[in-house]
Structures are given as C-alpha cells and as structure tokens.
Subunit: 401 residues, 2 copies
C-alpha cells in the first residue's frame, strides 16, 4: 500500500534525531545552522555616533545659520572614530568629529563638513541643513537584550554579521548529518571503470551527493555494489559514523530487488515501502540501529524526486534547519501537460519570471534518466491526483528549488 507523501515525511521525521551541537569559530560558520539564541549583549550602536565627517554642535547655536549670515564657533576638540571625546560642547563651540565617532556630551547635532568654512581655529556654519541632526542614537539599530537570532537560523551574510556585532566568536551550531549513499545494481560501474556491455556508470551517487550538500548534510559515498545481499550488507556495515543511510536500486519487488530481503536480514523496522507519487513510488524506509535506512529507486528521475520530497526535508530537520520545505508559488504553464493520472505527479520544470509572473516550462525528458532535465530544472510542479490534462496557461503549484 502506498502512503501519502505527507504521511511518509512525518514518519521519517518522527523517526529521526536532530544532530548534536558543536562550537565552531565564527569564520567557519558560513552555511551552518545556529543552535542557540543570540541576544544583543550591548546596544547598537553602543553610543550615539556621527554618520559622517563634520562638526558636533549645539543645534540651538546654529539653527539660524545661512550663507549670508553664518554662525562662527570655536573648534575645541577633534574626535576620530574609535576615540573618546575629551571635552563637552558648550555654547559657542564645536567639536570636529569623524564618521563613526562618539558624539561629545552637550552636542545635539552634527553639521556636515560641506556646510562649514574653516577660519583660523573657528568654523563658520553656513547652513542649518543639519536640522535632521545627523546623529545615530545609541541603540537605534538594536537594544541590548533583544533576541536577534534563534536556533534554526541559517548562517549567511546578515546573521554572521550580527553574531560578530555581539561578540559571538564561537557560536554553537548543529553538526552536519553524515549521509551514506550506496548505489546498488549489477549494471552499475564506478565512473572511472570500463563500461562493459550491459553496464552503465554510477551517476546517482554524485547527483544525490550534490543534493545532500545543498540540503546541509555531508555525503559519504559508499560506492557501487552488485545485486548481492551479502555485499550490500557488508558495505553498509563498514560505513562509520553515519546518521542516515541511502541506497539506490533494488527498492521495488522484482527478482533482483534486494532491499526487502536486506531489511529482513538486518531486522530493519519498516516504516513504508511505497509513496503515492510519481515518479518515485517505490521507496523502502525503515529504522536500523537507531538510524533511518532508505532505499530509493535506481532511476535517477525517481531518485531525484524522492530526494527532493522526502530526503531533503529530513536532512534539513536533522541538521536543525527551521524552514525545511521548499517555497511554493503559483506558476503559469507555458505549454500543455497531458501526463496526469490517478496518482499525484511531480514534474521537473524551468520557471522564469515573465513580466512579474512566474512561468513554468515542463522538462519532458524524465521518463527515464532525465539528468539533462535536472540541468535546467529549478522547480518541481505538483500536479494533484486525478488532475485532468492541463492546457497552456493553466496555473499550477510549483516547488522552487
């Protein structure tokens, strides 16, 4: 019995574990998933500061300044960025201040350098255009104590900048799940091997390894193994420190489909064997020694779809990612799609923006193989079961890859 995709996803996630947490140097955290809350340890900016080079003044002194009637102020100090003002600004005085420097006490405005004229230790303020005051207030970006990042955040430019701003030089992140990939099938040979009659090279392992990396896991290639249950068992047993086992091939019910007998031999606790989607209906999933072992189809089109829909959310859940699903969007079919039927179907497609709308072009080379389709695909169209054939212009749901 085939189970629904959502049920299959839930079963996998219920039977998976989140990865342990590790401290990493900040510079090594790109692409990692945060495992801690991060609060501002100080206000930011930590002090009122100037956004430009100019003069810190009392606004009351300069509010009537014009080019015809400039206001003259004595310059009593100079504050470069990184230094602390030594003097307060008093009536009739100004302090030269650099971008990023702390506003001296007594000042409540900064006049841009361009709006001043220097005359023998005094400045003439020639415009009151500083009415917006040019002061970045203490804490205007972040208040001390504010929680800025929470567990599950993906660490990219902005998040890494914030961790740095608030002193997190060794953030706690999740370890990456190590995902074993074993290609089974007597017809499969290694990429550097001679392709004898009846054989093909192993392309699934590399395609799936790329998808594991993209999902935030660490692929562990176990190579290729012929259709022999002892060999398959041995290869799986030899792999060390694996968090999730994937195989390709032998997941169906034919004479040489060895994953079912393997599950029995290894006392795998079965979860499901078929998912009600096409392609990728045969998927054998179970629990082996507290890890998930999942047998995908040997057909790259089917294995690719199964990975996207079942394995990627699982890997992301294990990796601690908050948002495990692909974004969904409505897209307009650019050509008809007749391959519908009683089973929910996923169709690789290329989506482009067409005048602010998303247009989807189904990639048709997916009956068998379809590596070429994967080159161009940036979406999977989700066609419901019992959908009628769809005409060009119809709106469909797209998972954006």
């Amino acid at each position: 019995m085939a189970i629904l995709l959502e049920q299959a996803c839930s079963l996998l996630q219920e039977n998976s574990r989140q990865m342990p947490v590790v401290e990493l140097p900040l510079a090594a955290c790109y692409g990692r998933i945060l495992a801690q809350n991060t609060a501002a340890d100080i206000d930011f900016p930590p002090f009122a500061r100037s956004p430009l080079d100019g003069y810190a003044v009392r606004f009351a002194d300069v509010k009537h300044a014009t080019a015809d009637c400039p206001v003259s102020l004595e310059v009593i100090d100079d504050v470069p960025a990184g230094m602390v003002p030594r003097t307060a600004v008093r009536a009739g005085t100004a302090v030269r201040i650099m971008t990023g420097a702390k506003i001296p006490a007594g000042a409540d405005a900064v006049i841009r350098l361009e709006d001043t004229v220097t005359v023998n230790g005094f400045i003439n303020i020639i415009t009151a255009a500083g009415a917006d005051r040019n002061i970045c207030r203490q804490g205007e970006e972040f208040k001390q104590g504010a929680v800025l990042l929470t567990p599950g955040s993906a660490l990219r430019d902005g998040a890494l900048g914030i961790l740095a701003m608030f002193g997190q030089d060794k953030p706690r992140v999740y370890e990456k799940p190590r995902v074993a990939i074993l290609a089974t099938g007597t017809e499969i040979v290694a990429v550097n091997q001679l392709v004898e009659p009846g054989k093909i090279r192993d392309s699934n392992s590399y395609m799936l390894a790329a998808k594991v990396l993209e999902a935030g896991g660490e692929p562990v290639l176990l190579g290729q193994v012929r259709d022999n249950i002892d060999d398959i068992e041995q290869r799986l047993e030899q792999a060390a420190d694996i968090d999730l086992y994937l195989t390709t091939g032998g997941a169906s019910v034919g004479d040489y489909d060895l994953m079912r007998p393997l599950f029995e031999r290894l006392s795998v606790r079965p979860l499901f064997s078929r998912v009600a989607i096409k392609p990728g209906m045969p998927v054998l999933a179970g629990c082996w020694r507290d890890r998930l072992l999942i047998g995908l189809s040997g057909n790259p089109a089917a294995a690719g779809v199964s990975f996207e829909l079942l394995i990627r959310p699982l890997v992301r859940r294990m990796a601690g990612v908050r948002q495990i699903e692909r974004p969904r969007a409505a897209a307009v079919l650019q050509q008809k799609l007749v391959k519908t039927g009683p089973v929910r179907r996923f169709v690789w497609a290329e989506c482009i923006f067409d005048n602010g709308r998303l247009a989807a072009r189904p990639l048709l080379l997916q009956s068998n193989g379809m590596m070429a389709g994967l080159l161009e695909a940036n979406a999977l169209l989700d066609i419901p079961a019992f959908s009628p054939p769809l005409v060009a212009g119809a709106t469909v749901a797209a998972l954006l890859l």
Copy 2:
C-alpha cells in the same frame, strides 16, 4: 567624479584575470565551475534497455493478446540488469528481463510482469498493453559526441550526474579566487575583544566573507587594523597568494581616510574612486601588482551594496562563472518609497510571491548599519536616478539575491 555603475563593473572586469584551472576528483567538485567541454563519450542509454521488470517479446506475437484469449510464450532466458542476453527472442518465445537490462536481439517490446501469468516455464500474455513497447532506445537521452556541458557551468546535481555518466572522474575546474578582507578603522575591534568606549566589533569582515563564499570565492580574513597607513600596508603585504584585495573603511576623503594615501604609497594604478549609486558611492579601486585592490566603505549598508553590485560579479568572472549577474525581475512595491533623488539608489528588500506576482517590501533600517535588514533581504531594488517618490503598487526592478 563618480562614474556609472556599469563603467565601474567593466573597469574591474577588464583589469581582472580568470583563475587557473585544476583537476579535482568528481566527489570534490560540488559548487565548482567547470573549465572544460564535456561531451557524451557513449550513447546514453548505451544499449536499448527495459524501463521495468517484464518479458521481452516480439510485438507481432502478442499484439492480439487479451485476458480471455492470452498468448502463450516459452521463456527461454532471463536477463538481470548488468548482464548480457545470451539468446535472441524467436517467434513463440520470451525472455524474462529486469529493469535496466539490455533488450535481447529479436525483441521489439517488453510486456510488464503484471500483464503476464506464469505457467510451467511458459508465460501467458494477458494484455497487449505493451503497444508502447516499453523499450528505452539506445541514445534516446544523449547521443555519443553531443556536447553537454561547457566551461562556466556551475557543478550541481544535474551537471555532476552528467559528468559521472560520461566518465569524467577528474573534471577540470577553475580554482577559487582567494579574496583578502581587511577591516580598517581605529574604532574596530576583533569579535573576541573587549568593546571599550568608542569602539565597535568588526562585523563587516564576516558579512563580506559570507558574500565571498556565496559568490564562489575563498575569503582570507586579514583581521582588523587601526587607522595607520604603515599598519594597513604591512597587513596587505603579509597576505600570501591573494587574487583580490578588499578593505573596508577609510575609502572617503576625511582626515582619517587612509586608502587614498595608501594607494599613492603602494603605487596603485587608480581605476575609480566614486560610483554614482547610493549607498556605496565611495569605492576606491585600483591595480596593485597585477591584482585589484578595492576599498569599500566601512558602513555595512554601503559595503554590502558595493559588494553585491561591483565585487560579486567580479569574483564570479574571476571564478569562471558564465552567469555573473543576479537575475532581475519586476516587482510590485508593497509600500511607498520616498527616498529617491538625483542618484541611482539601491534598496534592500524582501520579495515574496503574492498570487504568482513578486511583491517587494523595502527594508528601511539601512541608513546606518542595517545588519538586521540583511537578515531578511532577498532582493535589491534598483531605483533610477531622478526617480520621483514611488507609491505603493508601483512596479520596480529587483535584483534577486
């Protein structure tokens, strides 16, 4: 004089070099940029094969088969995947065949297992539903000699699968450009240092390092240095094997802006010093010892925009990427945008799909700092010079990050 963004990009690219080429094991190639053509070395599939488990037959024998009037055939061979058929199919015979196995000579159709009944070494074909023949023809996916990948292809799932299919176990890829990042400014302290009055921690280095990684480069963090031209020079001199030098801070014309005097001291051949965009107008770019040296603003909002518009395309060009620009799309403003003016302006924004259309929400915290904006930003809105204030509902151009 500020030059146009497009001119600045051209100058940088004209003065850059593409990275050298290196051979890498296929499993290490994820995310790399291909530096070779890849043609199919064999047809794919390399032989006619069965897409399912069943019986290879002569279609002429079975075309009238029905459940009421089945056709009986003698089973004369069995071809597992990876094996070579030993016998040709003759009239009145069938060969058992597994998914992926080579079609025996004489057969021109495969009948699904489900449409047969086995009786003592014979099979009864009970439906002629095999009229589509169930044969994947030799070369139906790829013809031998077809060029499938060209230099500049990013190696992700589909491309890695294709390299594997055609025996490329050590593809030639471009080396990643090593991009030095030096944060200058007396106000800047390292992330693990005490934040004394007047100081802030270095967040730009980590934000930019993330952007370098995302662009396909390898960041080399040179740390933080105070506003001292000797110190800055020394730090740049000490960095080894750098393909591109970036600094933050000191790129403007204030008393403590040291990048201009540094350029003179190092005999940097200047390219430009201002780009006609906001934020990020001051950018000091030149050639130093056959490498580009680019001084960005110390303001994260400005440095981030400069990176996106100038540095990212440059890094991608150096890295060998074919598509160096971000995709552009029209987006509908969800709120008004009054901050326009005589200079072309870029505005961080969050774009979401709203009923198949792209809707843009400008992120306003970008006067100064704006790390929080970067957390949510997935687009940069491109507002032309002399644009009037824009109302909610107006269409704008968005660069999709």
